[in-house]
């Protein structure tokens, strides 16, 4: 289906474009061209490479290999070729008005009365995309609701500015919009493409993809695994193309007997003694927030919490690491009251426990008194595991804890978690990796901040999780 890169009618043409982050192949050789009138639906699981592809096209990331050309305009950069991106993470300046935000993107707007021109343009763009909107061009962005901000951002993206947009990339634009507004956007996208514009539309709402896309591109592990006209796909076919069959040897966990229920949250998250509960679904659908609420609610800012519940952070820099400290101090911070005598930390005990965990979890360092930042990300993550597992807390909360951990260590950690669970510890484990979720006794799938499905035993498969993650019903 893909056209050769020499295709002079393409707005953007990628030839074998690749992007590597160290050994990680985020984008692994993608050839693609987008011509005026195209509306390309882009789907794939988290980490499939969708965002990397977008960032390579819009010039945020230079490709590690391959070419990216803009044949139609002859430009060398995405901005000059009038390629615009609208992100799910809202990127407007909250302290400026809507019109002033347009001015940031629209460098050509000058003169003494630029505000008037900016107001005019942003109003026209809003009326064009979202007829009947009630957004004031002079409202500062932080006074707008999240949906209104997203609408303003979309309008600014489609606004003509110096020259009409040739390609607009929409990354999950409807996640904060209600159905009626989303429908306005989809209608506009169709009109925009019919008038000769091009759109890349990324969404986890498959209904929208089928509604608007002329072609659908499915990505997995940094590669394009399918690219066909939308009419040749079925919903089930799309889900199948995105997911992969359960990895070899991912044995279904045998049903075990658990103790009494010891965790129950108002939103329906429960766990029994000795159980490993997985939290799954698409990233950002409320799993991390649910775990943070659970942990913060069960512990106090006024009393030491080491004995009741421990937390393994996935976002190491924000939630886990103490950057000025040694590996030793980072590992022991949650067990200090236990290894202290009359409130003074016993250095011998501390060193002994840390050395024990270094051996058990394989922290690669010659000396535990080295700074924590001397370790690679994966090894820092192991320190955070050691911190949690070294405590005697009965409940371990894990917020996507395997980021950057290599395959071999993952297997060791799985084994360690299973043996700790067999001893009666409870694990709540959020992961974006299906392989990890398959280690769990029970999996709850989140969608839009709520639990949408609960799977046990042989039902824990990638297909079932994906089905529960996506909004399958008709929009």
């Amino acid at each position: 289906m893909t056209q050769p890169a020499s295709d002079a009618t393409a707005i953007v043409a990628l030839t074998d474009a690749a992007k590597h982050f160290g050994p990680v192949r985020a984008l692994d050789g993608v050839t693609l061209s987008i011509r005026p009138g195209d509306c390309l639906g882009l789907v794939g699981h988290n980490g499939a490479g969708k965002s990397t592809l977008v960032n390579v096209i819009n010039g945020t990331l230079p490709p590690s290999a391959g070419r990216i050309d803009f044949p139609l305009s002859g430009a060398t950069a995405a901005a000059a070729a009038c390629v615009r991106s609208i992100f799910q993470e809202l990127s407007l300046c909250p302290n400026l008005t809507v019109a002033e935000n347009l001015r940031i993107a629209h460098r050509g707007l000058g003169g003494l009365n630029w505000r008037r021109a900016a107001r005019q343009q942003v109003r026209e763009a809003l009326d064009m995309v979202f007829p009947g909107h009630r957004i004031d061009a002079d409202a500062t962005v932080d006074t707008l609701s999240i949906a209104e901000r997203q609408m303003a951002e979309i309008a600014i993206g489609f606004a003509p500015r110096d020259a009409a947009a040739s390609l607009v990339i929409l990354d999950e634009p409807t996640s904060s919009l209600d159905a009626a507004i989303a429908q306005q956007l989809l209608d506009y996208v169709r009109r925009f493409c019919a008038a000769g514009g091009a759109v890349i539309f990324i969404s986890h709402m498959l209904g929208e993809i089928f509604d608007v896309a002329s072609r659908i591109l499915v990505m997995k592990d940094g590669k394009v695994v399918a690219e066909r006209p939308a009419t040749e796909f079925t919903r089930q076919g799309l889900v199948d193309a995105m997911g992969h069959v359960a990895p070899e040897g991912a044995a279904v966990q045998a049903a075990r007997a658990f103790g009494p229920q010891i965790v129950a949250t108002p939103e329906g998250l429960t766990a029994c003694r000795g159980e490993i509960v997985g939290l799954s679904g698409l990233a950002g659908h409320g799993q991390a927030e649910a775990l943070a609420r659970l942990y913060l609610g069960a512990t106090s800012s006024w009393r030491s919490a080491g004995g009741r519940m421990v937390f393994v952070a996935g976002d190491r820099g924000r939630d886990g690491i103490f950057p000025l400290w040694s590996i030793l101090r980072n590992a022991s911070v949650s067990i200090l009251p236990r290894i202290a005598r009359r409130a003074i930390v016993d250095p011998a005990k501390e060193g002994h426990i840390a050395a024990d965990w270094q051996r058990r979890i394989g922290i690669r360092t010659a000396d535990l008194s080295n700074p924590i930042l001397s370790l690679s990300g994966g090894n820092q993550q192991k320190v955070l595991f050691a911190r949690a597992l070294a405590s005697d807390a009965p409940v371990v909360v894990m917020d996507d804890p395997m980021r950057g951990v290599d395959v071999g260590t993952k297997q060791d950690v799985y084994a360690m978690i299973r043996s700790e669970a067999a001893k009666g510890r409870t694990f709540l484990w959020y992961s974006t990796e299906t392989e990890e979720v398959c280690q769990c006794d029970r999996v709850v799938v989140f969608r839009n901040g709520r639990i949408s499905a609960e799977l046990t035993g042989a039902d824990i498969t990638e297909e079932r999780i994906l089905q529960a993650s996506f909004q399958m019903e008709e929009a």
């Binding site: 800012s301 030491s304 519940m309 924000r318 103490f322 911070v333 930390v345 008194s369």
Partner: protein
């Protein structure tokens, strides 16, 4: 953490103090070196005590500072001296009053910060107006002399060292042990590095913060009590110079303003330096204006030297 002597952040404040000392002694050709050291220890002790408290709060991370130190010093010493009324045998009671005042102002400061979610700079500055007003109201222009025994202790010496310096030294050592060895010290330094990570690691972060704000007020109360006894009575402006002083000795001493790292030896180096640099400029005959300009420049130089070292680490 393996670290050579050159990388110790407290080194610079001590080098600066030693250089100022050498320059003064060089001018007088060695005469008066003992007297100068004695004076530096006496006056440095007060700066060290308030500096230690301020260091705890600053270690909590950006935005944490106690600007009510001068008012707490004044209020604690005013009420303590009034309670003692120059009568003999009331010293313990007076110290108790001062400590109670420190406890009360510390709790009040933290209540403003925690319950009303005020930034510490605003909360402590606003509260200090209240404390200062209370001191003015209770003082009413009287200058009550401390009991003779207390005045004798505050101005006296043991083994050739000023008693106030010995008190400050004892407080420093106790605090140093707390910071380096105790669970509480670890909790404080962890909270200062990353408050969110500390909370998620099970540290009672609000209790740690409360303890810091109470401790700084207790230290300020002790410093005020000793200073009033040392100088023959409480004065309403007695704490004034300690606002800038408490922050300056923390920064010059090499404590990271970004939080999570504290430095007890540096506080002493910086406290001695702050006294010696003024003495040095005096003995070289610098005018008042020039003295202030040079003091400012020297402080900036030391802070740059100390922070550059840390960046290289």
């Amino acid at each position: 953490m393996p670290m050579t002597l050159l990388q110790k952040p407290w080194l610079w404040s001590w080098l600066a103090a030693a250089a100022s000392f050498a320059l003064i002694v060089g001018l007088t050709e060695g005469r008066g070196a003992g007297g100068l050291a004695y004076a530096a220890l006496s006056f440095g002790a007060f700066a060290a005590i308030v500096g230690l408290g301020q260091m705890l709060v600053i270690s909590l991370g950006p935005g944490n500072v106690d600007l009510s130190i001068p008012a707490t010093m004044t209020l604690a010493s005013t009420l303590a001296l009034k309670a003692m009324g120059s009568e003999p045998g009331t010293v313990a009671m007076g110290l108790g009053v001062a400590l109670l005042v420190g406890l009360a102002t510390g709790l009040a400061n933290f209540a403003l910060i925690y319950l009303l979610r005020l930034p510490p700079i605003i909360a402590t500055l606003a509260a200090s107006l209240v404390y200062q007003s209370l001191a003015i109201w209770s003082n009413r222009g009287l200058r009550i002399r401390p009991p003779a025994a207390l005045a004798e202790f505050a101005t006296g010496r043991s083994l050739g060292v000023p008693n106030v310096a010995l008190v400050a030294l004892a407080l420093s050592i106790a605090l140093w042990i707390m910071l380096e060895r105790s669970v509480w010290g670890r909790w404080l330094l962890a909270s200062g590095q990353n408050l969110r990570a500390a909370r998620l690691a099970g540290i009672p972060v609000e209790a740690v913060r409360a303890a810091c704000y109470v401790t700084v007020s207790l230290f300020a109360a002790v410093a005020g009590f000793l200073l009033a006894s040392f100088s023959g009575g409480a004065a309403l402006n007695m704490g004034q110079e300690y606002l800038l002083m408490s922050i300056a000795v923390v920064v010059i001493g090499g404590t990271s303003v970004a939080g999570g790292a504290s430095n007890v030896p540096g506080i002493w180096g910086a406290s001695l330096f702050m006294f010696l640099v003024v003495s040095m400029l005096n003995s070289y005959g610098a005018s008042a204006g020039l003295r202030m300009v040079l003091t400012g420049l020297i402080i900036i130089g030391i802070v740059i030297a100390a922070s550059t070292r840390r960046a290289l680490r």
